[in-house]
Symmetry: C2
C-alpha cells in the first residue's frame, strides 16, 4: 500500500472569493475532505469525494483521522477557515505527528497559506496592522492565565498594536473582561479599540470604540478584538464612518 498525502488548507474567513485558487484546486481534487462541519458545508460536493465532518472541540481526533486516511493512500485535504497556521489545524497535525512520529512518516504533507481572519478584519477597518503588532489567543484552555497576563503586559508596555483571537466564549466570558481591565492600567483610555465580528459572513459587524469605553459583553467567540498602539488613529471616511490605521512612522524619527 502506498501512502497518500495530506494537504492542510484554509478557506479564508468567509466568502468563496477569499479562498486562494491553490486551495480551491486542492479541495476540488481531494478524495477526502476532513474538517469542522460548517467549513465543509461551504464547499461544493464533488462526485466520488468523501466528506468527514467533525465537531468543534475534537482537533486532535480530526488531525489523526486525516493522517490515517492519508496513510491508507487517500488524497486528503484538512480544511480550516482563515489560514490553517494561525490558531488552527496545522499545529494540531504536527502535535499528533510528534507524538507518534514513525507511524505517519510515509505520508506526504504540505501546508498552504490562506487569508487569515485578522487580515480580513484589518482590511475592513483600514490599516490598523500597518506597523508592529502582537497576536494572542485569550483562551486559557491550553495555557495558564498568568502567561496571558504576562504577554498582554509586555505587548502593552512596548506599545504594540494587539490582536486577540478567542477573546471570549459562552463558557468563558471573563477573559476579555480581564484583558481590558489589565490594559486600562497600562494604556490611555482613548486608545483605539475595534471589535470585528464575523468578518466575511452575513452577520459581519464592526464596532469602533476606545479602551475606556469598550464593552466586553459585546465580544463573542466570532469576534476579533484589535487594540491600537499610541500611534493608531482614526480618520473620517467619505460615508461618515471612520477608518483606523497605524502609520509606518513612529515617534520622533526624522
Amino acid at each position: 500500500m502506498t501512502a497518500g498525502r495530506l494537504d492542510i488548507v484554509g478557506l479564508g474567513p468567509g466568502p468563496a472569493d477569499w479562498a486562494t485558487p491553490e486551495v480551491l484546486a486542492i479541495v476540488e481534487q481531494a478524495s477526502d475532505l476532513v474538517g469542522y462541519g460548517p467549513y465543509l458545508q461551504r464547499l461544493p460536493v464533488q462526485p466520488m469525494q468523501r466528506q468527514h465532518a467533525s465537531g468543534n472541540r475534537v482537533e486532535l481526533e480530526r488531525a489523526r483521522e486525516a493522517l490515517d486516511l492519508a496513510l491508507e493512500g487517500r488524497r486528503v485535504a484538512l480544511v480550516s477557515s482563515g489560514d490553517p497556521g494561525i490558531f488552527a489545524m496545522a499545529a494540531t497535525v504536527f502535535e499528533v505527528i510528534e507524538a507518534d512520529a514513525a507511524r505517519w512518516r510515509a505520508v506526504e504533507i504540505a501546508v498552504h497559506p490562506g487569508v487569515s481572519a485578522m487580515l480580513a478584519a484589518a482590511a475592513r477597518l483600514g490599516a490598523p496592522l500597518g506597523h508592529d503588532f502582537a497576536v494572542m489567543s485569550l483562551s486559557d484552555n491550553l495555557k495558564p492565565w498568568p502567561i496571558v497576563e504576562r504577554r498582554l503586559t509586555a505587548a502593552a508596555e512596548a506599545d504594540f498594536v494587539m490582536v486577540f483571537y478567542n477573546p471570549a466564549s459562552k463558557a468563558r466570558p471573563q477573559q476579555i473582561q480581564a484583558a481590558l481591565a489589565l490594559l486600562r492600567k497600562l494604556r490611555p483610555a482613548g486608545t483605539v479599540v475595534a471589535l470585528a465580528r464575523a468578518v466575511g459572513h452575513p452577520g459581519e459587524h464592526i464596532t469602533l470604540t476606545t479602551l475606556g469605553a469598550a464593552d466586553a459583553s459585546a465580544v463573542d467567540m466570532n469576534t476579533l478584538v484589535l487594540v491600537g498602539s499610541s500611534a493608531t488613529r482614526s480618520i473620517p471616511r467619505g460615508d461618515g464612518r471612520q477608518w483606523i490605521y497605524t502609520p509606518r512612522r513612529y515617534g520622533a524619527s526624522t
Copy 2:
C-alpha cells in the same frame, strides 16, 4: 465630474494561485493599475487599462497618484505584494488622506485582504505561528532604533514567537545583526530560528537554524526572519528535512 474609486489590494507573496479571486477580479476590471513596477509586471495587460509603475521608495507619491486618478473618476487598483495592510501600501494611503482629508473625500475606498508573506513563510516551515506571536519591522528608516530594541526585548521576555519584516538591506545590514545580538542575551542559544527567503518566488530558500548559530549575513531584504518561542520545536519530515511548529498548549496548564 464624479469621483471614482480606489481599491487597495495585495497579490499575495508570489505565484498567481496565491492571489484571491476577489483581488484578481478587481485588478482585471480596473481602469488604472498603480504600483511598484515588478508587482505590475506579474499581471496580464488588459485592453484599455493603464499601468502606472513606480519605484521602490516613493510610497507617498504612489499613494497620492492613485488617489488623484480616483478623484478624476478612474477605477484604480493600487497593487501591493502580499497583504496590502501588513507593512505595505494601505497605511500609506490613509497617511496621505489624513494630511489633506477634504481633498479626496468623494473617492470611494476599499481595502482587500491577501495572503501575507509571513503566512506563506509559516506554511512552508510547518506551523510556527500556531500560537502567540509578534510581528515587527526591523527597519529604523521610520522609527527610532531604541523603539525596535524595546519591542524586541518585550517580545523576547514574554516568550512570543517573533517575525521580522525588513530585517536588512544593502544600506543597513546591521539591524538583523543587532537584533540577534540582543536576543542572544534574552533567549537560549537553542531557540529555533528560520530564514525564509523569497517564499513563492524562483529563488525561494528556507534555512532552519538556531539563535546561537544564525548567520546574519545570510539575511537580505527578501528574507523574513522567524524566531521561535520556548515552545517552538522541530520534528523530522518524511523527506529528511524538518518541520517547525508551535503547539497550542503552553506551559503547565491542565
